[in-house]
């Protein structure tokens, strides 16, 4: 923080961090236990170095110490958490009392029911299994398919889960809010909408729409939702939110 600073009102860097340097009574790692040789010695030397590095960075940083303790865990935080928890468990019991589960007919391998469905949270996966109309027949194979329809569906699941897993490696950087990255936010909204439209494909025999139309809906709706999101967020960039505090990324965050 520069010396020519004026008043608290003028400060835009957020002020003090609350980092408190260890006092003289805190023993160093080497004082706590002397290690003479081998890997443990190296480990302690490394810890010593990294501690010193942290301390140097703290000393260099602009942040100023403060001497206010954090929010008390007991009773404030505990009571708040307990009340939230009890309310939530109460809601589960209430819903359970209001909407009890049914027990269908017993298993009968000889009669296939009209509707076969897993629980709702697997509909998206089940819908991906039903993408077989998109499995292309190849002219080289006389219209035969390279992948069987079931394998095609299983692979669709692998692709979706894999894409989600790769996310942190595709989208890097320090942006946090959707406004800062309209593209990735629209991918997210598109994905969420896709999980719903593809779930509708799982129950296609209950929906009175022709299959080709429904397949179009499955893929068009998410794209439309993504485009709308993108437009909305781009527009929001005009507002005050966007330029809010980008410059703070430069600062080392508090430990």
């Amino acid at each position: 923080m520069s010396e020519n600073e004026t008043t608290d009102d003028a400060r835009t860097d957020g002020g003090e961090t609350g980092i408190v340097a260890p006092d003289d009574e805190v023993p160093t790692w080497s004082e706590r236990k002397e290690r003479k040789a081998g890997l443990s010695r190296l480990t302690y030397e490394y810890f010593e170095r990294s501690r010193r590095e942290d301390q140097d960075l703290r000393n260099e940083s602009d942040y100023v110490e403060r001497d206010v303790l954090g929010f008390p865990t007991w009773p404030h935080e505990i009571i708040r958490n307990l009340s939230i928890s009890m309310f939530f468990v109460g809601m589960i019991v209430l819903i359970a009392a209001a909407l009890p589960p049914s027990l269908e007919a017993p298993a009968d391998p000889s009669s296939t029911p009209e509707i076969i469905l897993p629980d709702w949270y697997l509909y998206w996966s089940f819908g991906l299994l039903k993408l077989n109309p998109l499995n292309p027949g190849l002219a080289v194979l006389d219209g035969g398919k390279l992948l069987s329809d079931q394998l095609y569906g299983v692979l669709a699941n692998v692709v979706v889960v894999g894409a989600v897993a790769l996310l942190p490696y595709l989208n890097k950087g320090s942006a946090r809010r959707p406004v800062e990255q309209p593209f990735w936010a629209s991918i997210g909204v598109g994905g969420a909408v896709f999980s719903i439209t593809i779930a509708a494909l799982a129950v296609q025999n209950l929906i009175p729409l022709p299959l080709p139309l429904q397949l179009n809906i499955v893929f068009v709706f998410p794209v439309v939702a993504g485009i709308i999101t993108y437009a909305v967020l781009k527009t929001m960039r005009e507002g005050y939110m966007y330029g809010l505090n980008r410059r703070y990324y430069m600062l080392r965050p508090p430990k």
Binding site: T17, V89, P101, A105, S174, R176, R177, Y248
Partner: protein, 264 residues
């Protein structure tokens, strides 16, 4: 080198030289007793370290520091979704343990012992109906909370740099939770369960190379029967509870260590 026993430090003599209150002397005697047997001194460093960490003062969060609460307050209710899914998991675990006293994972019988036991739970058992209802709804709510939690993490960019590992762990957890739900779905051994199981077998068989092996491992064969039911049962009440609970603990532990990722 002599194997003769060396003199120990005379800790108890040292105690006598000191002027101790009864509480202090009981404490020290206990401490010396335990240390002579369990080498507590070896763990003192850990305790000491914890002591100094606990006494560190809380740093301001990013939000606090830049006074952003007024800008981003609308995210914060969504930050409780992870906690809610954990809570629902605990409710499901407790009610599931109670249901386990009465459920029989047997496909034999008329129509099947498994089906009959669920029917008994729902019609005859005191509070059995409520118990099954709570178990089922806790599972449903857990899944809902987990999906919404994932969306929150996505839209607040919380999966980014130091937290990729926890994102991957979260994907493993959400998949295992779905397996948890699927195995539980099969246990009543009703029509829905049987045919959902049939789809599972077909999915496994469609996978190249490992398909048949996976079908035999998970479903105990290519047609559904007693082997399938008992495998689903063991997965649901033995394997997955340990694995998923351990991973949830790790997931939360990493969040604890790394701190909450707030929007900037």
């Amino acid at each position: 080198m002599s194997l003769e026993k060396k003199d120990d430090f005379d800790h108890y003599g040292w105690l006598k030289t000191k002027d101790l209150t009864p509480i202090e002397s009981v404490f020290l005697t206990t401490l010396v007793f335990l240390d002579r047997r369990l080498r507590i001194v070896d763990y003192l460093e850990l305790l000491e370290d914890a002591y100094y960490k606990v006494n560190l003062q809380m740093p301001k969060s990013h939000t606090e520091q830049y006074d952003l609460d007024n800008k981003f307050w609308y995210w914060y209710p969504l930050y409780s979704l992870g906690f809610f899914s954990t809570l629902a998991y605990i409710v499901a675990a407790v009610s599931g343990a109670l249901l386990g006293f009465y459920y029989a994972p047997t496909a034999a019988g008329d129509p099947s012992a498994a089906y009959n036991s669920i029917e008994m739970i729902m019609t005859e058992l005191q509070f059995g109906f409520a118990l099954r209802s709570i178990h089922r709804w806790a599972a449903q709510i857990m899944m809902a909370a987990v999906f919404l939690h994932m969306l929150r993490v996505y839209f607040t960019g919380s999966y980014k740099e130091p937290r990729e590992l926890n994102w991957l762990l979260g994907i493993i957890l959400i998949s295992l939770s779905m397996v948890f739900g699927y195995t539980g779905y099969l246990l009543p051994w009703n029509q829905l369960a049987f045919w959902a199981g049939q789809i599972g077998v077909e999915m496994a068989l469609a996978t190249p190379i490992v398909g048949e092996w996976a079908a035999q491992l998970l479903f105990g064969g290519f047609t559904l029967g007693q082997a399938t039911l008992i495998r689903m049962y063991i997965l649901h009440v033995f394997v997955l509870p340990f694995v998923v609970t351990a991973l949830i603990a790790l997931h939360i532990g990493i969040v604890w260590v790394q701190g909450i990722a707030e929007p900037h």
